[in-house]
């Protein structure tokens, strides 16, 4: 049974990765100038490329903005809808809805939320006499604005995992805690949260991948603008690879992304994995 999946894994994961690595040390082939070995030239170009560095920084801020927030929010929502509250099915569904919407549709909806003057946000702020900024149109707010959309979209997805994990926690633990007179907070901090650690790691891995994989709503909402303020690494790779057709350079950028994700996976599985299990 291992054979087919291994073949697929090699075909769609390992082979392209190796190919990318090879492409990254060759120049981009053009009809009149075939590609040739250039060694580290593509990487040298990257070091001197201000847009690459900006995309890296943007991605870092985007990751810092989305990962902790969406995980915390997911946990909060899960704990809440796990309790016996009235209409919890409805609330669960409401939280989960953003996840099932296609990102492109989400982005289009948010595009109008963010519209200056008569967008939803502008109208709400306007009711309080505040003039909202041009959310997607100014360098200061654009990255924040796209980050919020990603959090909104992801938190509901992670909530499902937390909810599933919470349901597996034996109710006898809650009863025992209640007998001991532990507060709701203590119960969460000392029992629920530690038991959820493996789930948190799983969610964290997904969130990290998500943060570096995000591209679709950038397309619809900002196209990396204004002035590259929302250019994330993958979007930049797309732009270099498919708008500029500089495939050699795009391959080099991809290698950096791969290395980055590899490093993060190493930290997550090598270091964190050992600490998440409740002993």
């Amino acid at each position: 049974m291992l054979g087919p999946s291994l073949a697929l894994l090699i075909l769609f994961t390992h082979w392209p990765a190796v190919n990318t690595l090879i492409d990254s040390v060759y120049s981009t082939p053009r009809p009149r100038r075939p590609s040739r070995f250039v060694g580290p030239a593509n990487f040298e170009q990257m070091m001197a490329d201000p847009i690459f560095w900006q995309a890296m920084w943007n991605n870092l801020w985007f990751a810092l903005g989305t990962i902790p927030t969406s995980i915390a929010l997911a946990l909060l929502m899960a704990v809440w809808v796990n309790d016996r509250i009235a209409g919890r099915t409805l609330v669960r569904m409401a939280y989960f809805t953003p996840t099932v919407l296609p990102m492109i549709a989400v982005a289009n909806i948010w595009l109008f939320f963010y519209t200056p003057q008569y967008g939803l946000l502008a109208q709400i702020l306007g009711a309080f006499g505040i003039t909202g900024p041009n959310w997607l149109g100014s360098n200061e707010t654009a990255l924040f604005a796209v980050t919020v959309v990603a959090v909104w979209k992801e938190a509901g997805f992670f909530m499902i995992f937390y909810l599933a994990a919470l349901q597996t926690i034996s109710p006898s633990l809650a009863e025992a805690a209640a007998l001991e007179g532990a507060s709701r907070w203590t119960y969460f901090r000392r029992i629920q949260f530690p038991l959820l650690m493996p789930t948190t790691l799983f969610v964290l891995v997904n969130a990290v991948i998500g943060a570096f994989r995000t591209i679709d709503h950038i397309f619809v909402m900002t196209r990396g603008g204004p002035d590259n303020a929302t250019a994330l690494l993958l979007f930049y790779i797309y732009q270099v690879g498919f708008s500029f057709w500089d495939t050699g350079y795009a391959a080099a950028l991809t290698v950096v992304l791969l290395a980055l994700l590899g490093l993060l996976a190493l930290i997550q599985y090598g270091v964190l994995e050992r600490r998440v299990h409740y002993r």
Binding site: R30, I51, T131, N134, G225, P226, D227
Partner: protein, 437 residues
């Protein structure tokens, strides 16, 4: 979309295999064997309105008149998305036979060796007359090195739309758009409504998302500056006229406060206009039918105001022929392109969408004459053509224009002065274009 390409590839491969034992030929044989040629055709939509429906109707009509040819239109997204798909398909070996792509992508397509010039297909005198019938302004971005690489189709210029009700309210003559840069500011000041720190209605909106270079080029032309050379190997982003034009745009929002700050969305600008959030807007003439359908107030369409001179770049899409298509497919596509650009159909397309009918004689057709008589605004873009200039187009076009776009957005957002922004853009363009000289 890749789905469709895949299916096409599979179908071709499948039928080629089926034909192989009999005919033994792998090239284009299946298409000819059935006596039918299929012309796949990628096209973008860049304006509001039922463009896809219109195109499908054209394809169906063409099929009725030409039994041997099936035209298969494939909607491929925005202009940017369409060229990505077309070139990806080209690299994978099965490109669409013909596509409508930006006229400015000509150099890129030539460099990628993706298209063939039309000259080989021009044989009869009728063909020659057909080629000569297009407005010369539109041919500037369609020809280079003595060859014709693109056939104008959904072409446009930028025009000014204004809300006549709001003009009246502000005490302006509703029939007179601003004629000069100074007047444009003065009008916009009267048309801007403020409620304390809050602006409820802007005087003017010039969109700056996506492809700000295009709208900016109008300002640059009006300042009598030229952005690039004819060969597409040099840009002049930091020329004094260019900086002056950018300063004017920045001043509209930062100094005169009659234009929203930050980036103004291309896509939502017509809506802002319908919602009376802006009294005047710049957008393509291709939005004319969209505005006519959706504006609930009398509106005017005019030429852009003049700086040192009048001006607008041309814009929009051309038909291209794929190099990797078979000769039979190319011939069939050429037939379709000639069919869809007859005077009557060019006129109909112009009436249905608002794009400028691309040839002079289509303006003499009865349908067009009647349309213009009832709706004089339709002729504005044509009349403006005499002031129009070729759109910014260079080798590595997407990258070179991105250098300008980034600079424009930086200046509009106030992170760089217009001068510094244009210096940076020019330096980047120099770096990219050096190897093409």
């Amino acid at each position: 979309m890749s789905n469709r390409i895949d299916r096409r590839t599979l179908l071709k491969a499948g039928s080629a295999l089926a034909a192989a034992p009999i005919g033994g030929s792998f090239l284009a044989a299946p298409a000819l064997a059935q006596g039918k040629v299929e012309v796949s055709f990628f096209y973008p939509v860049a304006v509001g309105g039922p463009i896809t429906k219109l195109i499908d109707a054209y394809a169906a009509d063409f099929a009725k008149e030409n039994a041997g040819i099936t035209v298969k239109p494939i909607y491929a997204g925005t202009y940017q998305e369409t060229i990505v798909k077309a070139i990806t398909a080209h690299k994978s070996g099965t490109p669409p036979v013909t596509s409508v792509l930006l006229s400015t992508d000509m150099f890129t397509l030539i460099d990628e060796d993706a298209i063939v010039p039309f000259d080989d297909f021009i044989k009869s005198d009728a063909d020659k007359a057909w080629l000569a019938s297009f407005f010369p302004g539109f041919m500037e971005n369609s020809q280079t090195g003595g060859k014709t690489w693109g056939i104008p189709f959904q072409r446009s210029t930028i025009v000014l739309y204004w809300n006549k009700d709001l003009f009246k309210e502000a005490g302006l003559d509703p029939e007179k758009p601003p004629q000069t840069w100074a007047e444009q500011v003065a009008f916009a000041e009267k048309l801007t409504k403020r409620d304390g720190a809050n602006t409820t209605q802007w005087g003017l909106q010039i969109p700056s998302s996506g492809f700000p270079y295009w709208l900016f080029q109008a300002l640059a032309i009006q300042a009598d500056a030229v952005l690039m050379n004819k060969e597409g190997t040099r840009t002049a982003y930091d020329a004094p006229g260019v900086v002056e034009a950018l300063q004017y745009w920045v001043d509209l929002s930062r100094k005169h406060k009659v234009h929203p700050t930050g980036i103004v969305e291309w896509g939502t600008t017509p809506r802002d206009f319908f919602e009376k959030k802006c009294a005047m807007m710049w957008t393509t003439t291709g939005n004319l039918t969209n505005v006519r359908t959706n504006a609930k107030f009398p509106f005017g369409v005019g030429m852009l105001a003049a700086g040192k001179r009048r001006g607008s770049p041309t814009g929009g899409g051309n038909f291209y022929l794929s190099k990797k298509a078979s000769r039979a497919e190319q011939e069939a596509a050429f037939k379709f392109i000639q069919w869809i650009t007859t005077p009557e159909r060019a006129a109909k397309w112009g009436i249905d969408t608002g794009y400028v009918a691309v040839r002079k004689d289509s303006w003499d057709t009865p349908a067009m004459k009647e349309y213009v008589a009832g709706f004089p605004a339709a002729a504005v873009a044509r009349d403006q053509l005499q002031y129009a200039v070729a759109e910014l187009s260079t080798h590595e076009n997407q990258r070179v224009t991105k250098a300008l776009n980034d600079g424009l957005q930086a200046a509009l957002n106030g992170t760089k002065t217009p001068e510094a922004a244009m210096k940076d853009s020019q330096a980047e363009a120099e770096r990219i274009l050096r190897s093409y000289r």
